[in-house]
């Protein structure tokens, strides 16, 4: 579908890949709602692009419902939904420190996996009530974010890998569930991008190591490159139910 004049939601839109996506969608003429836990940062991005900022904790279903209602009230129902919000944690399943704390595992699952699902289920219910935008009967498109860690997770990232593999795994059935309503579901699995999350995951020393593993181009990805892929997905109606690696051909070895 054409992006111009559409309403779009970007979770985790205040920084990193999300912020890049907000800017790209706005540049293409979308009205963007920036959903983020960090309201101040969300507001500064929203002001920059003439969008709105809404505070949300995607792991809290009441907060998600309230944020979706706010977007609907202020802008209308968003046909484009980009689930970029995510957190990571580095800890082995067991070590001398003892077993991986279960609460930390669940926090990562709740934000990355359940949060993504929660946004999708609410958004799709609303979008199903809208008229199609084109002759294909297209009503909406979701772009979810997995990670290459879902496929080649290194040591110490069991929780993050499980959550992201969950996001990848629900892509196809969700696309099938929503096909009747003309809502497409796609997932991007980014490699190493220059974002606050990635830097906190690998540490400053890990940046050079990660880059050295990338066949080409030998540098971190830029948020605008992620955003370009996300916009292309919105614009190309034949893309559906697929997970796309965007990673410069990196395959992770065992250690970061």
């Amino acid at each position: 579908m054409e992006i111009k004049d559409q309403i779009a939601i970007v979770t985790g839109g205040a920084s990193g890949l999300g912020a890049g996506t907000v800017r790209a969608l706005a540049a293409k003429g979308a009205k963007v709602a920036v959903l983020d836990l960090n309201e101040a940062l969300a507001k500064s991005i929203a002001d920059e692009v003439g969008g709105i900022a809404v505070r949300v904790d995607v792991a809290d279903t009441d907060s998600v419902a309230a944020a979706m209602a706010t977007v609907k009230e202020k802008l209308g129902i968003a046909r484009i939904v980009m689930n970029v919000a995510g957190i990571g944690i580095g800890r082995k399943i067991t070590s001398r420190k003892g077993p991986h704390p279960l609460a930390d595992f669940m926090r990562v699952i709740n934000v990355n996996l359940t949060g993504t699902f929660d946004i999708c289920r609410l958004a799709s219910t609303d979008i199903a009530t809208l008229e199609p935008v084109n002759a294909d009967g297209e009503r909406g498109v979701f772009v979810n974010v997995a990670s290459i860690f879902a496929f080649d997770g290194p040591v110490g990232d069991t929780a993050y890998a499980a959550a992201k593999a969950g996001v990848a795994g629900m892509t196809l059935p969700m696309a099938r569930d929503l096909a009747n309503y003309g809502i497409r579901v796609m997932t991007i699995a980014p490699g190493f991008f220059d974002t606050p999350l990635a830097r906190s995951e690998v540490g400053e020393a890990g940046v050079d190591k990660m880059v050295s593993l990338v066949p080409f181009p030998k540098r971190p990805g830029k948020p605008e490159e992620f955003a370009k892929m996300a916009c292309h997905i919105v614009e190309n109606s034949m893309l559906n139910g697929e997970v796309i690696r965007l990673d410069g051909a990196i395959r992770m070895s065992m250690m970061l």
Partner: protein
């Protein structure tokens, strides 16, 4: 890589997906050369689009070398290669009435779909490797020198019945994507594969023995055959997005073939 003014080779470009891609690349200002075994059809498409037609048998080394020389001479040395040339011979591997499938069903498809793709990739990459390096604002190691887009198929991933030989050749194209990307990374050449589902092309019409639009029952959304322009759009995006490398992208409306 910005495609405008780039010399681009599109194999199988006389019709179908290749022609769809050619149209988009010409619109973006690329100097496109269509490689096809059917020179008459290639010439007709090239005249319509305003690009170059070159006779080429992709499986034949001498033919590819000659075609690449011709492109270099007329359009400049190519840095982008879109490998759309392909054939599809359907048939079950063995049937009660018909016995085993003839071995040529496999060997013919390997020649075009796999050897042909590999042949263009190796000769094209070798050509790009010898060109003066392009410069950019990026450091030299992350400055792009070329892009290869190969065409596999949803059949290469899902393995529908009656497609054993075709699926084998397309799965092989999928299988060589990552090692090729790794091999060529040192030269700044990216390799990405598209795996299309049901598209409105002469090849699909021949395989399905009818209008591809009638064969979209299993496609979740959009419930129609893909358009060659949509294939071209993704091929163009792949050229323009330098972080895409070593990846196989399904373009199929969510289809899983059975």
């Amino acid at each position: 890589m910005d495609v405008s003014q780039q010399s681009v080779v599109i194999t199988g470009g006389a019709s179908g997906l290749g022609a769809g891609a050619a149209r988009l690349f010409v619109d973006k200002g690329a100097r496109v050369a269509i490689f096809d075994r059917n020179l008459a059809l290639a010439q007709q498409t090239a005249d319509e689009l305003g690009c170059l037609a070159v006779a080429c048998d992709v499986a034949d080394e001498a033919s590819v070398m000659a075609a690449l020389s011709k492109v270099t001479e007329i359009n400049g040395p190519p840095r982008i290669f879109i490998n759309c040339a392909g054939i599809d011979i359907t048939g079950r591997i063995a049937t009660r009435g018909g016995g085993p499938q003839p071995l040529e069903a496999l060997s013919k498809q390997i020649a075009v779909n796999l050897t042909g793709t590999y042949n263009i990739c190796r000769l094209g990459a070798d050509l790009v490797r010898q060109l003066p390096r392009l410069a950019s604002a990026e450091p030299s190691a992350s400055t792009e020198q070329g892009v290869i887009v190969n065409v596999a198929s949803a059949a290469g991933l899902d393995g529908p019945r009656g497609q054993t030989a075709y699926a084998a050749t397309k799965a092989a194209v999928i299988g060589m994507t990552l090692p090729m990307a790794r091999d060529l990374s040192a030269y700044g050449i990216r390799v990405v594969t598209i795996a299309p589902g049901v598209f409105n092309t002469p090849l699909a019409a021949a395989v399905l023995r009818g209008d591809p639009e009638t064969a979209v029952g299993d496609v979740p959304f959009p419930k129609r055959a893909g358009r060659p322009a949509e294939f071209g759009q993704l091929a163009l995006h792949i050229c323009e997005n330098p972080m895409l490398n070593g990846e196989v992208i399904r373009l199929d409306g969510g289809l899983r073939a059975t």
